[in-house]
């Protein structure tokens, strides 16, 4: 055993080009043993390229120096990286859903070219020891597909530890966790850190970055911006470092909106989801709805658009009581729902931008013969691309070629084309860069100014505070607080939500 090296990982002068595109330019990156470090930057800044270089998936341009645990490494391969104790937990976790917990955790031990005899039983003592070290209890024979996401995450961590990891990269680990699950994950990370295992978070959730890590390395456009201690760092400052833009967080609420109501909900309940919810959205009003994940926000939205049936209570739209039996009904009555999961539900990724925008309004762009009119289609698409300033190559390009922010604008265009009077936005900035978020909210604000009612659902307390006229807080299926951004601070709201 050599003495503890100063750095568990030290990279210097790393560059990588893909064709003519410079993905990374002379980046250096260091992690101390047992440190909780954060690698931050917007999508496309080179974070994942850097990880792939460290784990040997990509080879950097010449001149790069890679040092793991005090050893100079000439050429790193995925197998060598794992052997040296570097392990990556990808965002999708890369687990095997039909295999058991024990089989998943011990999987890397069975990988190999030559056949060898293996028995899951023989791995179990070691697997148990690792789970014990993490202070979690789990049924080793349970298939992964039956576990909640948070438990799967723990399985992935245990799998990394099975290979004696000294440094674990976690790619957006909390994007699908609830608040309490995130807290549990943080406790485990803390434990790892005490045991001398360094953890690098790759994330663009700013609040989290600051809460857990002690150091943050910021990348922008393939360049190193710098390494900063998280103490004394604010979200705004970090966002500015990542985007190189001056971001102003100002409350945009309009005081005393006095128009007629678009949506009135009274005592709406659905078994096991939400109870006695009453809310009211006026014309031109942006109502924020926040709370922990699992509080029943999305479930409420589903009931509003007719995806599920409430067990009791009334919904009135424009003064008229409605009872939707399908989403189609809701669309026809002027409700648009921008769902949370843009990747799989909001857009048909391989189809063109044009086709995505017109899917909701095909019946309005027909010729008299009943075929889709190319002319009407084009003029509608061009109108919305201009109106929302969507940055695209050609309208015929696949949606998957667009950035997160522009994809979200396509989703908005698709729903705005239905000319709704009420729009429900469910976590509209998930996967959208910090810089592009402001643009989305500018659009939302201008829609409200034109008289549309908006229900803005979000996990991020900051988002609803700064962008809504009033904020409702949902806890355990009930709305139990109304917050006025003009009178109270975002910290007050935070303390209530996370209480």
């Amino acid at each position: 055993m050599t003495t503890d090296p100063e750095w568990v990982l030290s990279l210097e002068n790393v560059s990588k080009n893909f064709g003519g595109v410079k993905a990374l330019t002379k980046v250096s990156f260091r992690v101390k043993p047992g440190e909780v470090h954060c690698l931050a930057g917007e999508n496309g800044c080179g974070k994942s390229t850097l990880i792939k270089i460290i784990t040997g998936v990509y080879t950097p341009s010449s001149g790069a120096k890679l040092n793991i645990l005090g050893k100079e490494i000439e050429h790193i391969t995925p197998a060598l990286a794992r052997e040296m104790g570097i392990s990556v937990i990808w965002q999708d976790l890369a687990l095997f859903p039909h295999m058991s917990v024990a089989e998943n955790i011990s999987f890397d031990e069975v990988v190999g070219f030559w056949p060898k005899l293996v028995r899951t039983e023989s791995f179990k003592p070691k697997v148990e020891a690792i789970l014990k070290r993490l202070n979690v209890e789990m049924d080793l024979d349970e298939p992964i597909k039956d576990l909640p996401i948070a438990q799967r995450q723990i399985v992935a961590i245990a799998r990394a530890l099975m290979g004696n990891a000294k440094l674990i990269f976690m790619d957006e680990p909390t994007s699908s966790l609830t608040q309490s699950e995130t807290k549990m994950l943080m406790r485990i990370v803390q434990k790892l850190s005490e045991d001398g295992v360094a953890v690098v978070f790759v994330s663009h959730r700013l609040a989290e970055v600051l809460a857990i890590s002690s150091q943050v390395t910021v990348l922008r456009d393939g360049h190193l911006v710098g390494v900063f201690p998280t103490e004394g760092m604010t979200q705004t400052k970090l966002a500015e470092l990542m985007t190189n833009l001056t971001l102003v967080n100002e409350v945009t609420a309009t005081p005393d909106i006095d128009t007629e109501s678009i949506l009135e909900i009274e005592n709406l309940s659905r078994e096991n989801e939400f109870q006695n919810v009453s809310l009211n959205i006026k014309k031109g009003e942006i109502v924020g709805l926040t709370g922990l994940i699992g509080a029943g926000r999305t479930e409420l939205a589903h009931a509003l658009i007719g995806m599920t049936k409430p067990t009791s209570g009334t919904i009135r739209l424009g003064g008229k009581e409605v009872n939707f039996s399908s989403i189609r009904d809701a669309i026809l009555e002027g409700i648009a729902y921008v769902s949370e999961d843009r990747l799989s539900l909001g857009l048909i990724q391989p189809q063109s931008i044009t086709d995505n925008i017109v899917t909701t309004v095909l019946n309005r762009i027909l010729t008299f013969m009943g075929f889709v009119s190319t002319k009407k289609k084009e003029s509608m698409v061009n109108y919305w691309i201009k109106e929302l300033a969507i940055r695209i190559g050609e309208p015929s390009d696949a949606v998957s070629t667009l950035s997160g922010g522009n994809q979200q604008r396509v989703v908005l265009a698709k729903w705005l084309a239905t000319e709704p009077q009420l729009m429900i936005l469910d976590n509209p900035t998930v996967g959208v860069d910090v810089g592009a978020r402001a643009g989305i909210f500018r659009i939302v604000k201008s829609l409200a100014e034109q008289g549309m009612g908006i229900l803005l659902i979000s996990d991020e307390v900051h988002e609803v505070h700064f962008n809504s006229d009033r904020v409702l807080v949902m806890t355990n299926g009930e709305i139990n607080l109304e917050h006025n951004p003009l009178e109270h601070s975002v910290e007050q709201l935070e303390s209530i939500v996370y209480a």
């Binding site: 995925p78 197998a79 794992r82 990808w90 999708d92 976790l93 890369a94 687990l95 095997f96 859903p97 039909h98 295999m99 089989e103 999987f107 890397d108 069975v110 990988v111 190999g112 070219f113 056949p115 060898k116 005899l117 293996v118 028995r119 049924d139 024979d141 349970e142 298939p143 992964i144 597909k145 699908s176 999305t298 479930e299 589903h302 995806m307 599920t308 769902s339 949370e340 999961d341 799989s344 539900l345």
Partner: protein, 337 residues
């Protein structure tokens, strides 16, 4: 509790077992022949070839692929092997297994190479090779049968013989012993080797397997090579039973075997399937057919019943999820797997 857990992990197999036991009980009441030793041994004799194919196909299904070409490949093996034995001066059982196993592996590797090399889904490739193998076979043989086969190949070998009180003989032939060998070998491969674990992993989540360093080309080669080997051995044993080589004798058997393996709980998407389920699936199909024969039901009803069983098996295994989906759609919308 652990016992119950085991049942929960083998839901499909346990259901099938219960259905099978009820069926056997019913048939034994309805027909006094059903439970006779003669009927049971002939059930095994008649299904040995299907079972050998089934365990080969199971490995392919676990790895996330499918193979339509194996029955036709078995015919190709029979012809090429018959030619080889003539060339080798007659041959014997050892050479027989070697030659037919190797030719089978070769044909399987053609599938694996095409699937891996061109990254084309297995069903398309194996439908193509199914047609190519059969077309070439019919072309070169002009559809001629071979009756003049080495005597070792066509001689009857019994591993079990018994004469009952009324004088009828019941026996198990060599194919049953070979089948048992193939089943045990496949069981060891998928259950107790690192290769087997990697096959499940590859079928379950190919991208995750690739990132974990699983050699994908090797996995395809093992899966389709194993299937090919089983096809070759099944072809060899089928000749031993029928004592002739007919080019189109096995054509069409693939769907019957596929149906049986899927009934036994193997997942078409890969990553799931067991030897037990595979055996039960084949026996379910076999006993259904046998029972209908004994009861004197039209053979046309058989296809219909197998089709219906697949529909029931597949849809009931989804019912739980279905009712849950109705109650809580959000849960399924957000789940990745």
């Amino acid at each position: 509790m652990p016992r119950l857990k085991l049942l929960a992990n083998y839901t499909v197999e346990m259901r099938l077992l219960v259905v099978l036991v009820i069926m056997c009980f019913g048939l034994s009441l309805a027909s006094d022949q059903f439970l006779s030793l003669g009927n049971l041994t002939s059930l095994l004799n008649n299904n040995a070839v299907n079972l050998i194919w089934a365990v080969g196909l199971l490995v392919v299904l676990i790895s996330g692929g499918i193979d339509i070409s194996f029955a036709v490949a078995a015919s190709v093996v029979q012809y090429v092997a018959a030619y080889c034995f003539g060339f080798l001066g007659g041959g014997n059982w050892i050479l027989g297994f070697l030659v037919s196993g190797l030719i089978g592996i070769g044909l399987g590797l053609i599938n694996a190479t095409l699937i891996h090399g061109f990254r084309i889904i297995s069903i398309v490739i194996t439908i193509a090779t199914f047609n190519a193998f059969f077309g070439l076979l019919m072309f070169f043989t002009s559809g001629r049968n071979i009756y003049n086969l080495p005597s070792w190949w066509t001689s009857r070998i019994f591993i079990f013989e018994h004469q009952s009180a009324n004088g009828t003989w019941s026996e198990l032939n060599l194919a049953v012993a070979v089948m048992i060998g193939c089943v045990v070998a496949t069981w060891i491969l998928i259950r107790f080797t690192g290769t087997g674990r990697q096959l499940y992993a590859f079928g379950d989540n190919p991208e995750a397997a690739r990132r974990a360093g699983v050699n994908i080309a090797l996995m395809q080669a093992v899966a389709y090579g194993w299937m090919g080997m089983m096809a070759g051995i099944a072809g060899l044993m089928q000749v031993n039973i029928v004592k002739e080589v007919i080019p189109n004798a096995l054509y069409g058997r693939e769907l019957e075997v596929l149906a049986a393996v899927v009934l036994g709980g193997a997942r078409l998407g890969g990553g799931k399937g067991s030897i037990l389920g595979c055996l039960l699936g084949v026996m379910f199909v076999a006993i259904t057919q046998n029972g209908l024969n004994l009861l004197g039901v039209s053979p046309f009803a058989f296809q219909m019943i197998i089709g219906g069983s697949i529909l029931i098996a597949v849809s009931t295994s989804n019912i739980q999820i279905g009712s849950d989906l109705f109650k809580n759609p959000g849960k399924y919308i957000r789940t990745r797997y």
